[in-house]
């Protein structure tokens, strides 16, 4: 299981990476914006995507849409971890096909719960 973490703030990438390691996911990759994230996804071997929304260049929502539009990636589970907390934004992300939505600041327990929930759904 390899997880890609996309966030423009390196601090947040490190936090998510360490939390994932604590949850038993040791194999992670990182990208600092949607575009480089998408290239990493397209080069293969990523099983799960954790992405921020507000990033310079390609945003997380655009990345999500690109993932859903790509036949090789369309079923990739995507968890959005973002400070964007407007009602219509959450609805927009849901319509774009996000699998989970965590707003910053978040707790380790919330991240764990959302990731586990996504896996449960995939296995079901």
């Amino acid at each position: 299981m390899k997880i890609l973490i996309v966030d423009d703030f390196s601090t947040m990438r490190r936090i998510v990476k360490n939390l994932l390691r604590d949850l038993g996911f040791v194999n992670t990759a990182e990208a600092d914006d949607g575009q480089s994230g998408l290239s990493k996804l397209q080069s293969g071997s990523i099983d799960f995507l954790v992405t921020d929304w507000n990033m310079p260049g390609m945003s997380g929502l655009e990345l999500l849409k690109a993932v859903r539009a790509d036949p090789n990636l369309s079923s990739l589970p995507v968890l959005m971890v973002t400070a964007e907390a407007k009602r219509e934004q959450i609805i927009e992300a849901a319509h774009a096909g996000v699998n989970g939505y965590v707003i910053k600041p978040f707790t380790a327990a919330t991240l764990k719960e959302k990731i586990e929930k996504i896996f449960e759904r995939i296995e079901a």
Partner: protein, 246 residues
């Protein structure tokens, strides 16, 4: 232009001649009339100039006040910026408190563990050197069992505390986003002030402030600043998503 000027000069010369002629003839009334005529030409020029200035000033001022950006800056964004920066202080404070609290809890734990480990290590060396009798060995082996139990408990606490420290660093991302927005605002204010100086400096222009690129993303929710359409906590997000069938 040249012809107009010539004509105007000729008219004034004519007026002057008539004025001199009237004085020579002793016709005081006519002389005064001619003098009034000459003055009124000058006066109407002055009025025209004042009128022109007034119109330009009015256009400048109304052009300035209809610029919504400025109204927004004073009414909403500057008070918001103060709230946002206060929120930055609160977040950095919370992070520092959490981190310091965790470190203060961790230090005595690691201190106790290292004392215990050193003590048992020394006893174990004595046992290996066969310097320990059976009675003491029994006690030491009980101590070892206790040490293993307490160590795994302590390490679990340490793990949790370290995770708290890790999570507390999330402020850097959120405060960074907020500060970037405030920097944008300061640039807007600077731009508006330059515009104001330009207008009051007398060089009028109907040009509006170039629209400053506004991101439609809202950024971190700030208590007291974000409107009611913003969901402040994860439970709200979860409720909304489950209402959408997630």
């Amino acid at each position: 232009m040249q012809a107009q000027r010539k004509e105007s000069l000729a008219a004034r010369l004519n007026c002057a001649k008539q004025f001199v002629a009237a004085l020579e003839e002793g016709d005081e009334q006519l002389a005064d009339e001619i003098l009034d005529n000459i003055a009124s030409v000058q006066e109407s020029r002055l009025f025209q100039e004042v009128g022109k200035l007034t119109r330009e000033l009015h256009e400048g001022i109304s052009g300035f006040t209809v610029d919504e950006r400025i109204a927004n800056l004073t009414k909403r964004e500057i008070p918001d910026a103060k709230e946002r920066l206060n929120y930055v202080i609160t977040m950095t404070q919370q992070s520092a408190d959490t981190t310091l609290g965790a470190v203060e809890a961790l230090l005595p734990l690691s201190d106790r563990m290292s004392t215990q480990t050193a003590d048992l290590g020394e006893k174990w060396s004595r046992f290996l050197r066969k310097e320990m009798d059976y009675g003491e060995f029994k006690t030491v082996s009980n101590e070892l069992v206790q040490h293993f139990t307490s160590s795994s408990e302590t390490l679990a606490i340490m793990q949790a505390k370290l995770n708290e420290v890790l999570m507390a660093q999330g402020f850097q991302d959120l405060t960074g986003q907020i500060i970037k927005r405030v920097i944008h605002l300061v640039q807007d204010v600077e731009h508006s002030m330059v515009e104001m100086i330009r207008i009051s400096g007398g060089r009028f222009s109907s040009a509006k402030n170039p629209a400053i690129a506004k991101t439609n993303l809202e950024g971190p929710a700030v208590p007291g600043v974000s409107d009611e359409d913003t969901i402040i906590n994860q439970d709200g997000v979860d409720d909304l998503l489950s209402s959408l069938g997630f």
